[in-house]
Amino acid sequence: MARHVVAAVEEIPPGQSKIITVRGREIGVFNVASDFYALINRCPHEGAALCKGLLVGRMEADKPGEYRLTRKGEMLRCPWHGWEFDIRTGQSWCDPDHTFVRSYKVSVEPGETLVKGPYVAETVPVRVEGNYIVVDI
């Protein structure tokens, strides 16, 4: 497992995402209310580019006509068949026991720390004064 600097924090504002490629894998990095999450860009159902889907809420109901929209902006809906996944965990909403999307640990680190690492950022230039999104893969 290695740590990859994938973006400067200001590149992905709240509610937005960025798809990056790390070690041949496309990964979507999402900013949900200033917390960052990363999921593999592949739906476990039929392989669609999942991270190009909409961020939606979770619609729940105890009986017809009484709807509650919870977890607003925290569910990722696949652009093909509409399967929904918890952006925080990758857990499927329709099949929570068996279906997961691979998720990755994300952290925000100051440039000051990162520049001490053995690798120099090329596509994501790291400046001492900036903050960066780091994904563990």
Partner: protein, 372 residues
């Protein structure tokens, strides 16, 4: 350690040898602008279309029966062309997302626009059918010969429908005749027989794609409340059509007729044949025009396309289902660019033996449509 994320996007893995040269039996082309059809309408009908518009059998004028999925009205969310326009309206983008992706040999188009088949004004409906047929050739088959057209007809205008079929006969750019799944009456009824005769006589299979408006409640138990419920009702419509074609004796009278059911599922077929055969043993004196078991007519005359593939709880049960239907009767389809389209790599959740995979993805359709 810290490493850098490359920004290049790798190519998808498409090294699926058994899919090469596959046939997609359900593609929906769309116009960039409704005015595209005007070029293929006589001035009289162009004016009629502008001033009065379509009058379908739908009980709610100017509205679909339900809004389907939003946003995108039931389209695959990543199928909106970057250059703008409706999903399915941009040939270059369709090539990128579908035709070139897995080495498709042929793609069968089933346009769901113009709505000539649903039109109450039968002369206008016939004109719209003719326009959509010419539009398919000009906008799709000419620039992209891998795409094949479906002849639009309004089955409630017998003379115009037969004339349209005869006009297109011998034109290999047309693969089949497309008939609305939901009609005023089940397709086996005598009133439609001349049209089915014309299809068979001119070598065209009949394709029934789910949809259309009958004016009747869309389920056998009344109007549904949800799209989820409505979607399943298409299966009922398919069952009703197959039963009607069999029991009315159509396949006795039009022995060369071949019918493909598109997007109506297929796992129900074995259960329907078992039931029809059982009742035939007891009720055959009512339908003495039937010379064979219902299951035999179905086996000889009915084909199905795959999408949306059923996903049984035990994935392996799919193999038994396909065995019961017949491996030579099932043809792969994507339904691009709709929201529930299938990807040829992942549509089946079970490994299909290689010989059967070739039939299902390619050879059955090549034989069915008589492609080289």
């Amino acid at each position: 350690m810290n490493v850098i994320a490359p920004t290049a996007t790798p190519q998808a893995d498409v090294s699926m040898q058994s899919l090469l040269g596959y046939v997609d039996c359900d593609i929906h082309p769309y116009f960039r602008d409704p005015a595209e059809l005007d070029a293929f309408l006589a001035p009289k009908w162009r004016e009629h279309r502008r001033e009065y518009g379509a009058r379908s059998r739908s009980p709610m004028a100017y509205a679909a029966q339900y809004p389907r999925l939003s946003p995108g009205t039931g389209m695959r969310q990543d199928a909106f062309p970057p250059a703008g326009g409706h999903p399915g309206s941009d040939l270059a983008f369709m090539r990128e997302q579908l035709i070139d992706l897995f080495g498709m040999a042929h793609g069968i188009m089933l346009p769901l626009l113009g709505r000539g088949g649903d039109e109450r004004n039968l002369e206008f409906g016939a004109a719209m059918c003719n326009a959509v047929n010419d539009w398919q050739l000009a906008h799709w088959c000419e620039p992209e010969p891998r795409l094949k057209a479906s002849i639009q007809v309004n089955v409630d205008h017998t003379e115009a429908a037969v004339a349209e079929i005869e006009k297109r006969a011998g034109d290999r750019r047309f693969a089949q005749v497309q008939i609305q799944q939901r009609g005023l009456e089940p397709l086996g009824r005598h009133r439609y027989r001349r049209i089915l005769d014309a299809c068979a006589a001119n070598g065209f299979p009949v394709a029934m794609h789910l949809g259309g408006t009958s004016g009747h409640a869309s389920t056998a138990g009344g109007w549904p409340s949800y799209y989820h419920e409505e979607h399943h009702a298409y299966v009922q419509s398919m069952e009703a059509i197959v039963t009607s074609l069999v029991v009315e004796g159509v396949f006795e009278q039009v022995p060369n007729l071949r019918v493909v059911l598109v997007e109506g599922g297929f796992a129900w077929i074995p259960a329907l044949t078992w039931r029809l055969d059982k009742h035939f043993q007891r009720l055959r004196s009512e339908v003495p025009h039937l010379k064979r078991l219902p299951s035999e007519y179905i086996r000889d005359h009915i084909w199905v396309t795959t999408q949306p593939v059923e996903e049984p709880e035990r994935a392996g049960d799919m193999l038994s289902t396909l065995e019961w239907i017949g491996w030579d009767r099932v043809m792969f389809s994507t339904d691009y660019p709709h929201w529930d389209q299938d990807d040829p790599r992942y549509a089946f959740k079970v490994a299909i033996p290689e010989a059967n995979k070739k039939k299902l993805f390619r050879d059955n359709a090549l034989a069915f449509y008589g492609f080289e």
